[in-house]
Amino acid sequence: MIQELRVLPPLAIARFGAAATPLDNYDAVVDPERPLGHRALRPAETLEVDVESGEIVRAFVPERLSFVEDGKVRPVAPFLEVWALTDGGQLEPLTTELLESEGASALELRWRVQVANHKVSRRTGVEADQVEADSGEFSDHTRRPLAGACANFWPGQTIPFGHVQFITPTAAHPEVRLRFTPAAGFVYGASTTPPEGPPTDPNLRSVVYDASPGRGTWLGYQDQNEPTITVPGGIYAGDREGRSRGYLDDGCDGLVRVTLTIGGEKLSAYGRVGAGPPTYAPDAVPIRTVADELEQALLGPTVTSAEATPERVEEIVRRAFETVRLMNTAAMNQGGMAAHDQGQGRRRDPIMAPSLVDAVALENLHQSLLVALRSGTAPWFADVLRDYDEVGDLSDRGRRKMPAMMRGADGQHLTLTRRQIDLIRTLMRGPIFPGADREIP
């Protein structure tokens, strides 16, 4: 008997793309014979959905991966699955068979998807600048567009946030799923007079925002030094004086809700979706990601000894040199945080000695950490990691801690999460040569 419902994964992140066909699945794997190389992208099982019927018509492993189609980026369109917590605490996929055993059918599931983009509102503080889309409740399998509406838009204008589709269960794929396909990744504009014809600004898909007198203030908006402003400030397209150019994007995040009434009892669950830019370096993982934040939020800032494995530390080191690989370290050493620190009252100096910031040499240095770790030796480099309470240390030594030359979400120098650092330190506190110890009788 179904006790509760779950939507899994609880958070799914889509990536923009204007192509008609979503991106195929893949895994990014490390070649054991080339541990310092780029991760190999290995095609994985992919579900092909028929747009009209909403059915999964094929499950296949692509022969090769293609991130574009007809010159357009293929979007990452995640599936959200409904799972059921049944008697005995068993978590299992909700299928047509399970529904039938409860005397229900897939058509009795009720979906509702609400997503929003509050970026402008977070700056202006104006509720009427919130862009929101609501699919309304639905049970059928047609595509449901998510049209982002906003009180400060010109009449009839919306920003398409993509669409959702309740996948039609079939005999071959009886599971209950919803697919979220994100927007194309377009930029929208603002004007003080009603838009006529295509926008003259080549960056824009269309003009949607009404910045006429007495209406929205986003066009020409300028961050003031107020505590309510999201840090770091000025992260919007602006002119030389920092005045907003009135741009909006079609990114969004929100909730996917599902309900099912069985035997007069209403069961419900929800998951979260978000949409962001495509990954242009799919074979690299940044040194700190949302996943690290979530893991820390879920599991806390410290790890147990059992969790501190060499493999996990190696993965952090690998992500470090993958991050360095994507950085113009010579330029970032002079600008970037070096320039930012000047704004904090520090003299503008390079962060590192300029002779040390050749990107290839830095990547090699980080790779050598991984090589040595593979011998089984405990990590030794915890002293050079920046702690969470050192992000504002603008001394030479403070700025040279790792990770260097990058900005965290708080506008200060980036740190690893406390949990990542504790992982390294916990392993470091163990025997220096644990493998060797096993050898000695």
């Binding site: 190389g37 910031v357 240095l365 050598s368 090589v371 089984g376 002293d383 506190r429 220096i432 050898e439």
Partner: protein, 489 residues
Amino acid sequence: MLSRISRHLGAALEPSAVRRGAPAARLAVRVAEVEAEVPPPEFNGRDYAIFLLRVAAEIEHALMVQYLFAAYSLGGPNVPEGRQADVRAWQETILGIAKEEMGHLVTIQNLLTALGAPLNFNREDYPHGSAFYPFGFTLQPVGLDSLATYICAESPKEWDDEEAREIKRRAQADTGAPVNRVGDLYAELLGLIGDQALVPDSAFDAASVTFQASWDEWGRGYREGQRGREAMSSLPDLPAPELLIIEVGSRAAAIAALEQVSEQGEGFDMPEDENESHFRRFLAIYRAMKALGDDVGKVVRPVATNPTTDPAAEDTGEPTDADTPTSIVDPEAKLWAHLFNVRYRKLLVNLSHAFELADDPADRSTLSPRGALIHRTFSEMYHLRAIAGLLVGLPADGADPDGPRAGPPFQMPYTLMLPHAEDDRWRLHRDLLDAAARLRERLTKPGGSGDGQDYLVALAQWDEIERGQVEQLIAGSARALAVNGGPLT
């Protein structure tokens, strides 16, 4: 080589002090003697300062290596559970001291550069015994006796209480002669360099700073000039190492550098709870290990003393004799030991090559290989640590699997001289990569994992990357010569 140097240390030096194989040094005697005539015959002041700095460089290099070996010997499966954190802290403390000795070594090279002298990354090897060392060069596991010698070498002149006498007696019993203080050498140098009549102002080349090592380049995340109140974050309550890498462009800077280096070793006047001079830190470990009583042997791995790849050592002496090398005869361990020696040589070549390339502070736009050489120097330190870890897990003699473990041999290369031409220097780097590749191939077991096999796979790729870069630099150097009308045109 020994006699070329020792003959300048004075007639008062006892003959037995400089005999080959004698572990004792007689620096104190030497100082007493040479004070009567400074500089000694055949020197002027500047040249004698260079001579003593070269001796200092060898001592710092030797201390660094011996301390690294000592640190790597700590630990093992027999450490009582309640002592593991202590042992790990002692290990980290000694590693920290070794890192600081490397800072001293680099600062001495800066001093040599400032005086227009050749660099010296040399060091006595075993068979050992030198009049210049505070004690005979011995790679040995940590014990109360070896700690006593380290304490005495780093001790301040005025250290003379009951505990001091006990430790000095223990050190003398271990080495066969009183251990000489490193501080005496620095005192001699300070007197010499501080005397304008002996070393004129013109001897110091301010422009040489661009060729010197700077803390900006070599300091990494370690502390600079901040005396140890900051807890080392990885092991709470343990001060982080303080790397002294001091650029020298004048007499005042030279004096300050020598004073700081000397002070970091002795550090007698600081409050004891700051626990910061090498002397203080070794003394604290000595006291703690002494308190272990009979358990002291449980905190150290049974690593061979003076391990070497040299087969000639097989028939000499007892393996536990501090003066006697222990041959690594287990075939696999021996290959790892050879690979260790190649990486050690690569480290020294990278280090000395980096000094040959100037860092022009006025030119922030051009990247030179100097930075890459500095990074690679650190990378080779990581490799040494990695291979040392594998070696202390392997028997020195496979026929005696429960016998002493092989340890990192730290054998000096046949030469430390760099070729004159830049492209030939890169060819030397390539030669060493080739040598490493030959050893890696012999160590690699097809389909193998564990026992360092994963490390070898990663190391092979890392070396392959470096080799590609070295090939480019060789080609680039050749092209530069051709463009400049050099001999290749």
